[in-house]
Each structure stands twice: as C-alpha cells, then as structure tokens.
Amino acid sequence: MIARTTARIRGWGRDLMDWMEERTGIVSLTEKLLYEPTPARGRWLYTLGSATLFLITLQFLTGILLLFYYVPTTDNAWDSIHYIMTQAYFGRLIRGMHFWSANLLLFVIGLHMVRTFLSGSYKAPREMNWVVGVFLILIVTIMAFSGYALRWDQEGFWAWEVGAMISSYTPLIGSWVITTLLGGDTAGPATLSRVFALHVWLLPAVLAPLIGVHLYLLRKHGEFGATFEYSERLAALRKRRQMEETFGSVEEDGQVADAGDHSQEG
C-alpha cells in the first residue's frame, strides 16, 4: 500500500516536471546552470564574485526596507533616519546592515577586481566581462557616495557638496555637472531629490541589468580561475613542446610523425 502510494506520488512529480519542462525548459536550464564544471582547486578564491553579488542583494533588500520610513525631503530626511535608528522595529539593525554591507561591498569588489587582474582572467574571450565589471565598480562607488548624502546630516551633506564642487572643475562640462548634481546653483531641496533619484532609481536600474550581463558572460565563457587550475595540462604542453624540439612533431598517439633528425628514428 505504502509502496504503491509512493510510486504514484513519484509519478505525479515526474509528470509535473515533464509538463514544466515542455512548456518552460526550466528543468534542463536548471541542470545546465547547476552542474556546469567549475575549477575545484581555488574554489575559495572564486567566492569573491558571489560574495559581491550577495552584498549587493543585501543592499537592495535593506534599502527597500529603509524606504518604508525614509522621507526624501530636506525637512524630514534627517528626522526619518533618526526615527529609523531609535523607534522603528529593527531600524537600527536594518540601517546598520545597509551601511556595513555597503562598506564591505566596496572592499570585496576591490579584492574581486585584484584577483581577476592577477590571474589574467580578463584575457580573450573574457574582455567584455572585465569592461562590464569596471562599470559595475564605478556605479557601486557612486551609489555609496550618494547614499552618504541621503543622510542629510552635516557630514553627508558637506561631503556631497565638496564632491559636487570638485566635479564642477571637469573640463568643458563642469558647470552642467554641478547644476545637475545640485539641482540648481546652490544646494537645497532639489539636491536631495536628485540624490534620492540617483541612489534609489537611476543607479540601481543601470546596476541590475549590468549584473545580469556580467553573470551571463561568466556562464557563457566559464570561470577561468587561475593557472594552477591547469598545471597538469600546462605540464603536458611543456612536455610535448620539449618532445617536438627533440624529435619533431608528435601525433595524437604520441608517435613521432616527422622527425627533423632522421637518425632519431633508428
């Protein structure tokens, strides 16, 4: 009885999977994504990318929660953050997580970039993934800077003001840049609206699809890893080269095909 019921449930499960596969291809896609070969030796080294993705996800989640209380007006911005920190349930935890994960994110993304640089993982055919990664780092940095200003406290505001003033020295477009960042000639309500739009809408809207492209390119070309992932194959290549130098070209079965020095053939 139990065996028959179990078999029936298994049958239903299989039917459901087949039905889903036929209509969406979800089963084969999941298999392809989950069971793709990845390098095993330096697996901990390659967690920097997923750690970056995790921290960005944490930023999105905690940021959305902060939006429940944050008010982006000059009269209420500081008060709303003070309320989050002192009155809102888990407000101090959520804002603290948003703040610290942003700082960790910048650190981890830097390490990820250094690791990619040192292992030469940007070489063909992975050039475009490096380019997308550089844009991601720039966007994350601007997001962190704009988040600093959203506090609308002395430190955040004046840091934004100084940053905006420095950008006004940009050749040719300086005046346009500062007007855009401040929302006018001087800092005021329009500035906060601009910073809010930048931090909450514009930059995440650019960031999210770029992360998608970064991941797509990673899966398309595969993780390169580092040269120690290929040390035995590289050793085999060196050995073949040495044999070729000594005996001439070597065929698949290891036989000497074209000996430059015929006396070697015996």
């Binding site: 989950l34 069971y35 793709e36 070969p37 990845t38 390098p39 030796r41 901990w44 390659y46 967690t47 997923s50 995790f54 944490l58 500081w78 008060d79 953050i81 003070h82 101090r92 935890l93 603290g96 948003h98 703040f99 610290w100 994960s101 700082n103 960790l104 250094v114 640089f117 040192l118 292992s119 030469g120 070489k123 063909a124 050039e127 720039l138 940095t141 962190a144 800077f145 506090r151 609308w152 406290d153 002395q154 430190e155 955040g156 004046w158 100084v162 420095i166 950008s167 020295y169 050749p171 300086g174 800092a187 040269t227 040390s231 035995e232 194959r233 085999a236 290549l237 073949r240 079965d253």
Partner: protein, 165 residues
Amino acid sequence: MVDIRYGPREPVEEGEVVTEENVFDHYDEPQGFFPGQVVADLTVSTFLLAIVVVLAYAVPAPLTEPMDISTTVYVPRPEWFFFFLDQWLLYFPGAALIAVGDVIIPGLFVILLLAIPWLDKEPAYSPARRPFVTVVGLLVITVIVLNMLLALLRIVNFTGGTPAG
C-alpha cells in the same frame, strides 16, 4: 535523472594532444557548480552576513547633527573609499590643478582600467610570466593604499574646524 556533467575526469585524456589552443579548455580538477562551488559561496556569504549583523549592532551606522547650510566652519570627512582622491588633491594645489588631480587623472585611470585586456598583450596568464603588467598593477595598488593611509593619518590628526562624527 539528472545528467551531471563534471567535464573530463582526467587532466589530460587518453590520446589527447595538449596544444596552445586547447590547454585552457578544461580544468585539471573540475567540480560541478552544485554542490562544490555553491557550498563555498554559501559559506562565505553566511560569514559575511554574520559580520554585517554583528557590526550593525556593535557599531551603529553614523548620523551626525542635522544639515545646517549656514555653517561656515564644518570640515567634512570623506568616506574611506574616497581617501585616495582626498589625499591626491594635496598634490595638485590651486583651482587650476583640481581638474587635473581629481578629474583628468582619475578619468584617464578609468580608461586605462577599461583598456587593460587590450593593453596586456602577453599570452601568459600567470602573474609571474607577465612581469610588466603585474609590477605596474601592484605599484598602482601600493600607491592607492599608501595614499589612503596618508589621508587616514591626516584626518585622524586633524584638529581644526568642527570635529567630524
């Protein structure tokens, strides 16, 4: 059932000729993304989450006094990821040089970063086998870290204006 594709089992398959073209085609020791890499990724993410939660409680996110636009003495402190640019400004004094120090040079640096895959012509991947690129990269990292430390020292020892934080 699930067809688990770990890739070739042996670093060099029987009868395979390893060439410059195929040497990086597969790893010596492959593993399936699941569970091998997923477990490592989840472990690190869990560790990071724990750090973030502990820090969130132990060191609350900062909030200084409300913005006062009439202030004339407040000296803002940059976030640590801008320490380098803050220090860099000191080497380019005067309004005429601000653009060079904080806009033009960083802009060129970003362009160089984007162009690295095409500038690095060395066929080798190992950092030891492409010494020029590696040394330049490590020098850039050293300059950035040293300038960040210099900025940190300057900010910590700063006594003028309203103390930040």
